[in-house]
């Protein structure tokens, strides 16, 4: 490369008059043309082709304009004049790369820093070619790995493309391996996911069955309870009939052995001197001491006594007969308890069903591949905090003192439409002092393990997490990887 550099050094600012063809540039040109055609080949093979092209190229003559890619060469054919690529102006060809900006679009100065909107093409043989803004040409900072941008600057730039290329290749290979492995694992997880999904579905069905059974049971118990109550009432009536001479005011039944309500008082209690008239609401309330319901024992011990003594209400000679409750009373209680138990069980099962349904309603990816994350939690310590991500559930932060703060609960998938499963949002965490609440955005990246990789808080109360998992691996990424890397 030495002759090429020497040739560059001769130029003053402006006139670039290096006519000798550069090995590197030609090579770059071939690389560039080759690029589009070789993209389907694997990297090793492409490299061989490039090397072959380099040797072959030694025989081709053409003038190289600095800073352009070979696809742009056609605009820079050496003629008397140069037409700005946007067609705005024609200038003498000597004014191409003469370090003065003539074209509005910067196309006359692809190799200098003269145009504000210009761009410089780094050939970067051995690595990736790319464009840099013209403003980075000869600014003393090495931008192109082939050092081509600093041809007239005090910066001593080394050509690092080969190293970078190797690193890149190694990296890409590593990525490939990761991707392969990731996809393999993903497949497993998909299968597991399907199984898990089925399992959950089965679980749901099972629960639903249990619920159905319980419902039948429930109805049975209700029926039995009803039966028992009817029996109890009959017994009570019988009791009342047998004791008719004594009672002046009648407690007609006792449905609830423990307490007495206003309604009961109204319907079951009559005054002796006017048995036809039902007690009014107020009277009944008065009898109960103002409440709508009262414990029976208490009623007997206090109010009833007061009433019978007749010093607050003018009702004379009233009495109420209570005996020890007959057996039918216990049966009714027993059935009531049973019913309650079954009702509770039914409720529990229904809650489980609704929980499960809610969980199953979450979008676990096209193949339920994210399902396995559901009951997992992942931790990461960052400086003084421990962060915990429980996917589809919540994110928390715990400090060294053990105080835990919610950074959000599961919100939704929030990736780009192209791959909505690349990002999750957890919202409505602990409120922040200036309003709003903590939120966490989780970016999912492909990896062979499932783990929380990084947590940041770029702005107060806004957290971003990098979460690696095989299920984030995308086959499409693999293809793109091959095409763009090298």
């Amino acid at each position: 490369m030495r002759h090429v550099t020497a040739c560059f050094r001769k130029r003053k600012h402006g006139e670039f008059k290096c006519l000798s063809r550069s090995f590197k540039q030609v090579l770059a040109g071939f690389y560039e043309t080759g690029r589009r055609e070789f993209t389907v080949l694997d990297s090793d093979m492409r490299f061989q082709v490039i090397v072959a092209a380099v040797f072959w190229s030694g025989f081709v003559e053409s003038r190289k304009v600095r800073g352009i890619s070979s696809s742009y060469k056609r605009f820079y054919k050496e003629r008397k004049s140069f037409l700005c690529i946007d067609g705005s102006k024609i200038i003498p060809f000597e004014q191409v790369n003469d370090d003065y900006c003539d074209c509005e679009d910067g196309s006359d100065e692809p190799g200098t820093s003269a145009c504000p909107r210009g761009r410089f093409y780094c050939t970067n043989l051995g690595f990736r070619p790319h464009y840099i803004p013209s403003s980075r040409v000869n600014d003393g900072i090495c931008d192109c790995c082939d050092a081509s941008d600093e041809y007239n600057s005090p910066a001593h730039c080394q050509n690092t493309c080969w190293n970078l290329g190797q690193k890149e290749r190694a990296y890409v290979e590593g990525q490939m391996r990761t991707l392969d492995e990731g996809l393999r694992l993903k497949q497993q997880l998909i299968e597991e996911g399907v199984l898990l999904w089925r399992e959950k579905q089965a679980q749901l069905r099972e629960l639903q069955q249990v619920a159905e059974d319980l419902q039948i049971k429930l109805e049975e118990h209700r029926r039995r309870k009803h039966e028992a109550e009817r029996l109890k009432e009959q017994t009570l009536k019988a009791l009342e009939a047998g004791d008719s001479g004594k009672g002046r005011i009648l407690m007609r039944s006792c449905c609830n052995p423990y307490s007495i309500t206003v309604d009961e008082v109204k319907t079951k209690v009559v005054l002796v001197h006017d048995e036809e008239r039902l007690l009014s609401e107020d009277e009944a309330l008065g009898l109960l001491g103002g409440g709508h319901q009262i414990d029976l024992t208490k009623f007997r011990r206090t109010l009833w006594d007061v009433l019978t003594r007749g010093d607050s209400v003018k009702v004379r000679s009233i009495s109420l007969h209570f005996q020890h409750p007959p057996r039918c009373f216990f049966a009714a209680e027993w059935e009531a308890t049973n019913l309650k138990k079954v009702e509770e069980a039914y409720e529990t099962v229904n809650m489980e069903i609704s929980d499960l349904r809610k969980k199953l309603a979450i979008d676990y990816g096209t193949d339920w591949e994210f399902l396995f994350l559901n009951s997992q939690c992942y931790k990461l310590k960052v400086y003084e905090y421990i962060y915990t991500l429980c996917p589809f559930n919540q994110v928390t932060q715990k400090n060294t003192a053990g105080t835990e703060v919610s950074l959000g609960t599961w919100g939704m998938w929030a990736g780009m439409p192209k791959n909505q499963y690349s990002q999750m949002v957890y919202e409505n965490g602990e409120p922040c002092w200036q309003g709003g609440s903590r939120t966490t955005t989780v970016t999912l990246t492909c990896g062979t393990e499932t783990a929380l990789r990084s947590v940041k808080e770029p702005s107060k109360c806004q957290y971003i997490m990098d979460f690696q998992t095989p299920v984030a691996c995308q086959p499409v990424l693999k293809q793109r990887g091959i095409h763009s890397e090298l």
Binding site: H13, G14, Y100, D139, N399, P458, C461
Partner: protein
Amino acid sequence: MPLLPRLASYLHPERMVPVLVLWLAVCLTETWAVDRGNFKTCDQSAFCKRQRALKPGESPYRALLETMELTNTRLTLQLINDNNKVRLLLELYRLQGNITRVKINELKPLKPRYEVPDVLIREPPTEPLSLLSQDENGVVLSLGSESQRVIISARPFRLDIMEGSDVLMSLNSRGLLTFEHLRMRKDTFSYKVTSTVASVWDNIKRVFSSQADPEAEKKEEADPANQAETTKDEEEKVEDGMWEETFKSHSDSKPNGPSAISLDFSLPGVEHVYGIPEHADTLRLKTTENGDPYRLYNLDVFQYELYNPMALYGAVPVMLAHNTQRTTGIFWLNAAETWVDISSNTAGKTVFGKMLDYVQGSSETPQTDVRWISESGIIDVFLMLGPTPKDVFSQYASLTGTQSFPPLASLGYHQCRWNYNDQEDVQSVDAGFDQHDIPYDFIWLDIEHTDGKRYFTWDPHKFATPKEMLQGLMDKKRKLVAIVDPHIKVDSNYKIHNEIRSKGFYIKNKDGGDYEGWCWPGSASYPDFFRADMRAWWASMFAYDQYEGSMENMYTWNDMNEPSVFNGPEVTMHKDTVHGAWEHRDVHNLYGFYVQMATAEGLIQRSGGVERPFVLTRAFFAGSQRYGAVWTGDNAAEWDHLKISIPMCLSLGLVGISFCGADVGGFFKSPSTELLVRWYQMGAYQPFFRAHAHLDTPRREPWLFGPENTALIREAVRQRYTLLPYWYQQFYHAHRTGEPIMRPLWVEYPQDPATFAVDDEFLIGRDLLVHPVTEEGARGVTAYLPGKDEVWFDVHTFQKHNGAQNLYIPVTMSSIPVFQRGGSIIPRKVRVRRSSTCMEHDPYTLYVALNLQRTAEGELYIDDGHTFNYEKKEFIHRRLSFAKNILSSVNLAPDAQFTTRSWIERVVILGASKPSKVTLKTADGQDSQLEFDFDASMSVLTLRKPGMNAGADWTVMLQ
């Protein structure tokens, strides 16, 4: 960075429950805007209340003419207060450059009174005074060669400065001179009892503090034992707050008793006064009769309010007075708490009223009266007599020095945030600028970068390898600023603290122990920067081997240097703390000045005196311009705060502090995208260009608001970078002359009254007029283009406009209305790169804007951009001029030597006609024809690639 939100957000929840409760209490009562109750009104400041209660026209002071002594350069004269017979000594000096200095002190003070050191750059050189006449009523002195005289009237004492038959300024014309002499405290009840009882008594008194204690008063009056030898204060009342003062829960013991001083100044013919920053108020100062005086007392004001006279972070006791005939200035050299009252006989009058007066011929001369009141110290006042605005700048510069010449890079764009969280964050923000092709020079680290708010240290996890980070920035020719605040964490494991404590460098409380207050680190002490040995030690801490992790591309930011003390009175230090022989009361406004001075000195020393420092400070005083940049503190993301940045920086520029800026985007709250864009457009045209944001606000790096807004911000920043040669030249000029860089229109158009109150637009130097868009949803702005003989060229479209008109300019989101004055030549570097350093060797484009006479002038200044070598004449300074169709570059500094690789790549002549040919003649005598392009629609002639070296002699002829 004010107390509450920062405190609330940096402490861990469990540790800050009490704070949070406090905060909630504050927050619930007032969610936004300053809590005025935290800061004193004049009525709550005992001396201000006392002084303001005095009525004009009852001056007890009489000049004792028989005591007059006149040497060649100095006049002394005793004044006597006829009420208490206390004598004062008046000194009067004529200083070089049309300045008169008046000093008044007690003739025999009980103990010395504080005289501000270190602010004047030297003992000002004097000029001869001579006696013109004298009788029993007064004395007339001649002030040098100009027909200026000083008339000293004896009874009551009064001082008038005349020029011809005009009175320029009168002192004590309203008789408000007061000088509270130092006195022994009379035996009071609380004095007689033991100290324990006394403190109990104090507490009782505090409970009933609204009234003076009549018993103590009586006792004081009755007790004959304790009379100072020269005083006879039978008539003097001991008023509340003379010997002790309480504000909120804070008690100020006043062992020296009352010590206030006050003097009034009358300015005949003056209706416009300016200066006395820092206040969030209009450029033109308002009269204060109906409210508080303007207050000068450096304070950390949380969420400051706009358009009021409350004190802010800095204080420069300099006022300028201006009318069409003359500009004068008053520099009141006093570092204690100061209040300035302004009144005017025309203030209440409407324009119609004034006109009526004029027509009827019945008008009294307009006059502005000013009164300065300070809590302690002496009267030491410099009367800068102009007559032009630039004369006043030069007069003030001769006293306190000029703007330091900053490193060129510091004129670029600064990216700041509280906080960039860790090295990775810094790196990714840095990369973001490259990715979005936005230039920047400095990235900033706020307090969170330290190890637990221990300045000079790094958080061991988040900033584990600072040198690596700095090297990464250096590789891109960029720099970093790390914060170093003056409050030092009290922690025996902290080297800085241990050294300061062991050296006895901390400020002492009134009982002699190290003063401790509460600030970011929790309990903190405050180094006594008033000690030269302390400052030297502090400076030495910036040495590369002392400040671990520092490198030559790391600079410093001094915040909280009012000083801010979270649990102190008015969020600052107790006035009865002790700095050697002086109380904090005497020196308060100087603290920030000294902090920045010592820090800048440290940055100079670490490079062996080679490199220019860059230090940003929040608190400042007269003379702070010598040490770096200031910003307007903790503003808010509101349109009004965007607007106020203009008058705030203009006011600072008028008093010498040119390197001024406001937090772009607003510190508190989150700006709308429109406001953010507009703020970048404003900031790009203000001297110090830094975006900053509060910890609790969402991120706002320029690329976070969509590609359109990124492009708008990029464009604003790029405009800044293309103009860096002009900015740099302006700073060089300011450094040489003391003239403001960002200046009000009236400075350049002093005879055009239409400019006198303009503060929605400003000039950069003489040649650029900027009218930023500061209204939400603006469709247009109306800019006043000054100068009836001027033409102005829109710098974007090159359209020409006549001067002396209000021009409506339609605007879009990309508009930044900027005009170049016809008659000027502005050099630019249009190849904007990722940092200013990357542009060092780039070629120049000269923008030649022709005036009506078809001439233009400009300058080009070039040096290495970062060292003091310019002081050794290593620079290029050229005059560019265009006249008679010839553009030429001549050397303004033939004895200076510097070479540059930069060349002239383009000359754009605005308002030109089409030549037939253009010839370049270089120093070696060679002629060459230049290609050119002429745009007839705008009359713009562009010379293509003349190619001469920027340091060379050359001429270009248009034929």
